[in-house]
Amino acid sequence: MNIADELLKGSRLALSRAITAVENEYDDAVSIMQTLYSHTGNAHIIGITGPPGAGKSTLTDKLAKEYRRQGKTVGIIAIDPTSPFSGGAILGDRIRMNELTLDQGVFIRSMGTRGSLGGLSRKTSEAIKILDAFGFDVVLVETVGVGQSEVDIVKTADTTLVVLVPGLGDDIQAIKAGILEIGDVFAINKADHEGVDRLHTELEMMLDLNQDKIEWRPPIQRVIANRGEGINELAEAIEKQIVHSKESGQFVNRRTNRTKSELLAMLDEQVGRYVRKQLSDYGKFDELVISVEKREKNPYAVVGDIMTTILR
């Protein structure tokens, strides 16, 4: 029996092996995803993002427990950065989630970014689909600690939760244009720390400026994640966003856009692979590189020639 069939029968080992197969691009990865695809689309995907040290892992742990209390099963993907120098990574998000380890209604997988720069790992969206196909009601995706531009999560999640903390001072000005624009819901964690009122006010002011552009005003919920304070309210705020998103058509729109960009990305990859294969059969590529380097030919003309030759 293959991995996909075993997974669909409820094997957690098969679930784990399927993610590995996809992440390492093993030969059976495509056939696994083909089998699983028709079983996906049922989980609600919640992205949890924010700067390093904001408490994303602790909050993920607490939210997962809240969903478990509601009787929902939870898949978690926790992403940490891969070293660009060694290719290695220390994946330490599980430290905050140890109490969930033995809960059979939860499955946590840590992933290294492996060169991806958008705050997710290269195969996050496939890993989400695998957890979805297994039958988890909710999939929580915790991004790497982000700064301004790591906003891939918004293309991947149904609901994006942005976690902030007081004490970053004027940094909020700096991140205004980045991750603050993608939040469907905001959590201000460590709300017992100094500066929480100022952060809350600044955030409200920023949302005031966006007011005419959007039909959903993202709520701001104060939490103290390590003490579990404000978690119920945060889960309620997320629930309201989900209901609104579904009623307004935003939910379907986002999923359609996601499907479209995933299809295009797969096409790009396949076409790119095909072109490179043809290019090596074509044989003259190295000569062309040299003539472009010597300015005998220009790269635009060369690419044009290659395209007409290869994709005839």
């Binding site: 784990s16 092996r17 060694s86 290695g88 599980r94 380890t101 946590i108 290294g112």
Partner: protein
């Protein structure tokens, strides 16, 4: 994308000293491995389940409390019960020489005692990981 070796660095038992585990974790990262670190005071059940969820190739156990003869074999047993027959399990810490053959017989592939260089551990993993 080539296969990336994944290692669970785990601290079973009740001692609160993880400097050694952290040094090893860091060295393994620099050797290009993906290291999953789960923190202090993990039960054998938690370690085995984390290993399954993370689909690791290697489990590196660190223990300084003296309970290795009890905890290490238990972890091996749980891992094998879960069907992870190909995972390499190694141990380190303050472990008397006399205990090492017993641990090896129980399925711990290698035991590294104080003074071992991180290079020795890395080389061992590279040569023995499946």
């Amino acid at each position: 994308m080539e296969k990336r070796v994944r290692v669970l660095v785990a601290k079973p038992g009740l001692d609160g000293h993880d400097r050694g585990a952290k040094v090893v974790a860091r060295a393994l990262r620099d050797a290009g491995f993906e290291v999953i670190y789960t923190g202090l005071r993990q039960t054998p059940e938690q370690i085995a389940e984390a290993a399954l969820q993370e689909d690791v190739n290697v489990i590196a156990l660190s223990l300084l409390s003296g309970a290795h003869n009890h905890l290490f074999p238990r972890i091996v047993e749980l891992i094998r019960e879960k069907g992870m027959t190909d995972v390499l399990i190694i141990g380190g810490g303050v472990i008397p020489d006399a205990d090492i053959p017993v641990l090896k017989a129980a399925g711990i592939s290698e035991v590294f005692t104080p003074g071992t260089s991180t290079t020795t551990i890395i080389d061992y993993i590279k040569e023995n990981v499946k």
